[in-house]
Symmetry: C2
Subunit: 294 residues, 2 copies
């Protein structure tokens, strides 16, 4: 199977799960619609796919962990809705469509985000056919909450807001990337391993893999903000640059940023060696994330 086909199939599995999960009517209908609007605005579902790929690299079957993998997408979606708010990054477009608050208003967008974040923990604790040990499920919840919150994404977004307009500094841009984007990507990979009950050696490998692709991912995003087209990006080109966001290209320039991203990906690919014949998708996904810069 080609990578593209694998990614599309896993994406379809995750989307089908989320779609069915959100099928039953929730009151008030506006809240329900607002959440579904952003959930189905065309995301690549890379976090759930990474979670699944890590789980299968350990020897599992993705069907066991669809609720957990999908829950990570709920958290990612909430973060996009809140990040786009006027008080935050004040973005009107996301993936080429009007942002949530542009369609549903600020109050409903805040609540749609709060609802998705909270529901993520309900979805995450759905144990299909009791295939996951309770102990491992709790450990995975802790990884998710830590990396989505004060030791990850929320802290990264807070630093991003605080740093806006200030002179770019290496330490700050590294903090932002590691926390804002890197932490949840790393968690996605780790959760796959935790839920399987991976060995210590496998966990270390997944940690190295997840950390490195997480860092590379945001560097690539920063580069694309400058070299990509508005059509490719789904938002105005150079919008981070215009807001004086602290990015890798702002600190290192574009060429050195590309080299940094390539180095992260190389380390990720090497770490995946531990999984031997099951390492294929992990390696291909890592390389695919980098290719976006070319």
């Amino acid at each position: 199977m080609e990578l593209k086909q694998y990614l599309n199939e896993m994406k379809a599995n995750v989307e089908a799960y989320i779609r069915e999960y959100f099928e039953p009517k929730i009151d008030p209908p506006t809240l329900h619609e607002a959440m579904k609007y952003s959930l189905f605005a065309g995301g690549k579902r890379i976090r759930p796919v990474l979670c699944i790929t890590a789980y299968e690299a350990c020897g599992g079957n993705y069907k066991d962990i669809l609720p957990q993998a999908s829950a990570i997408e709920l958290i990612h979606t909430y973060s996009l809705i809140h990040d786009d708010l006027p008080a935050m990054d004040d973005d009107d477009l996301r993936r080429g469509k009007p942002t949530n608050h542009k369609v549903y208003g600020e109050a409903m967008a805040i609540l749609a985000g709060d609802g998705l974040l909270t529901e993520a923990f309900l979805m995450f604790t759905k144990n299909l056919d009791n295939n996951i040990q309770d102990k491992l499920l709790i450990e995975a919840i802790r990884e998710l909450a830590a990396c989505a919150g004060l030791y990850g994404m929320v802290a990264g977004q807070a630093m991003d807001i605080i740093a806006e307009g200030k002179t770019p500094q290496k330490e700050t841009v590294e903090f932002i990337h590691k926390h804002k984007t890197g932490a949840l990507l790393k968690a996605s990979v780790m959760i796959g391993g935790i839920l399987f009950g991976a060995s210590q050696q496998q966990r270390v490998a997944l940690h190295t893999y997840g950390r490195n692709i997480g860092l590379a991912f945001q560097v690539v995003d920063d580069i694309l903000d400058i070299v990509g087209t508005t059509e490719e990006l789904g938002k105005p080109k150079g919008s981070d640059y215009a807001k004086m966001k602290m990015t890798y290209p702002a600190v290192y320039g574009i060429e050195e940023s590309k080299q940094i991203a390539a180095k992260f990906i190389k380390e990720a690919v090497q770490a995946a060696d531990v999984f031997e014949q099951r390492s294929g998708w992990l390696k291909q996904i890592a390389n695919y994330l980098l290719e976006r810069t070319n």
Copy 2:
């Protein structure tokens, strides 16, 4: 022991736990400060106390569940921060102090709320001395996430926003109260029972107790908004009324609202009978919640 002393002692236990938990430095410091500002703005900690009281009514010792009881307060606090935002209820004062966004700005207030909500699940899964069965802990997480989110608080706040300024309707005001305030109070009580591994009979009793005090609590709050003083309330008297919020007094008038609250409390007190000699605090707390109207 007098009720006042019991409430103060349990409140102090919860506050000490939260204070110690948030002692270690979190980056960025502004985010950390913003969360602590609202966490220590003088709440009564009634939700954690209810959780503890239910757990002890079943036969447990509060020390086992301090993380879980305290985590509920983090969720309550996040909801206050987000509810006060300009896009939501636009309140400048809370418990007599400037609201979070008035001090830290809107972006940091949104993130402080997101951070508290996410951290609540990390705190909740801290299993002190492994005194709680993993299975029960997961069941309790599900109760918390359901009642704080789309089947409770978030849905209630969304309906509250949608209903603002519209002609008061019984069904709508009941939906708002049951979800916005009632659900988390009910969950606080239920979580105490779940974490102990309460019997089916005890769970049914706690559910009836929790549902009724939850409903009474918001009716009493609505009444106090009209008959209380600004000093007692910590916010301008009549502020809900001025915003044309859908409240019990708006639908039923003050006298009938008082009778409704009294009926809820009577049912809660009766339900607590199941706990026989351990029912004292549950009953006294229920009556105390009602007394605020006199």
